[in-house]
Symmetry: C2
Subunit: 245 residues, 2 copies
């Protein structure tokens, strides 16, 4: 089968358009249509003003993916853009599921997810093994999330917490910290980053005990260190191992 | 304190130079000196032939970092480059530790780590929570690594395994799979990617039982799915949750 219809699923990185890879930029240049949420489209549009844009503000995610697939099936070259990486809690999986058996060639172009971009703002919190866990219980039962936090803490994994809070889930981060505190010291070095790569970017380093009281919002990414993580010149740094280099 | 001496720690992504971000490229353009292993320098040099290059082939990592820091302390703008992300098992942490208290302003520029670039080659294996675990026991006791594999599997986290094998550690991946098999089905969908983003890139999808017998090498990144991970049109896809969208 010769696939004529090309659909790129592109992660554009954390915020400003210069955080996307050169490869991502080249793929967008090749496209006829760029589809995505309004905020992401607004980041890309100034670079590539002459494209057709499919802005999908309020629809359900499956509908957004179908819209991009349908556009590709008309013979146009389409990019579905998302912030961060296209795979990490992203649309790439849904695109594959919804285009199964259809004549669309999909190419996923990776991007810098918040674990990496936020880590770089804080210093070097992810120099050793880590887990990425979302506190959103929209599609995942809360007891599953609790189990993961408990196991990750028991294993002394650094953790990156995505979606630490929303209006509806104001106290989830506190609950998560209480689970981690079963295994980790209250003095464990933690960090938060807000608005990564965008205007208003800020970071703060604190203890796990303080993190439990931190008013995270949906623009916050949270980092919990392992037992070796320390503060060096105001940065959060996890050493490369448990032995001296 | 006005920092005059600037040291960028730059992740250049998985392989070809177009996998680095525009921001990384801009930082390298601003530098006087680019330091790194020969293979990474060779990737960057064609783009920026007029820079001073510090090639550090056989030295110990701490020495490489000191060399870059010392160069920055002479007033030059320096970039220390590494593959993937500068923070994930990277040099950023060591740079912070070794420059503590010195008059060097460090800026970490994130890049696409193998979990993301390899994931994009396989499909969308990391759509849900995951752990990144290295099997290298050079700086980490093996029992700590075993504990992490066991906990991650118990929590049904997808896993990305870095450094699955070396000459000295030929059977570590098999051992790791046996630990995961305590909790996961032998039919769990897994994938491997070799030479990500470089010539000779290949991927293969297999079961966990088959992965235990796979002859991984130091150029291989390994992905282990969760209980929901499936194969869609020949790709490894982890759904976004445990409920229907």
């Amino acid at each position: 089968m010769l696939a004529l219809n090309k659909l790129y699923v592109v992660g554009i990185g954390p915020g400003a358009a210069d955080q996307m890879t050169v490869r991502a930029l080249r793929a967008l240049e090749k496209c006829d249509v760029i589809a995505g949420y309004g905020v992401y489209v607004d980041l890309v549009k100034p670079l590539l003003p002459d494209k057709e844009y499919l802005v999908t503000p309020m629809r359900k995610e499956a509908d957004r993916c179908r819209m991009a697939i349908d556009s590709a099936l008309t013979g146009k070259t389409v990019a579905m853009i998302s912030s961060g990486d296209a795979g990490v809690y992203g649309m790439a999986g849904l695109i594959y599921e919804l285009s199964e058996g259809k004549d669309v060639e999909i190419e996923v172009i990776p991007g810098v997810t918040a674990a990496l971009s936020g880590g770089a703002v804080l210093g070097a919190p992810l120099t050793h093994d880590f887990a990425v866990i979302s506190l959103s219980d929209l599609l995942t039962p809360w007891d599953k999330i609790e189990k993961r936090l408990d196991c990750a803490a028991e294993a002394d994994l650094c953790m990156v917490i995505y979606n630490p809070a929303s209006h509806r889930r104001a106290d989830y981060l506190r609950q998560a910290c209480q689970i981690v505190l079963r295994h980790a010291s209250p003095e464990t070095v933690c960090g938060v980053v807000r608005n990564i790569g965008r205007e208003g970017e800020m970071m703060q380093i604190m203890t796990l005990k303080e993190l439990a009281e931190y008013p995270a919002d949906m623009f916050t990414t949270v980092f919990i260190g392992n037992c070796q993580t320390k503060v060096v010149d105001g940065r959060m740094v996890t050493p490369r191992g448990y032995r001296d280099v």
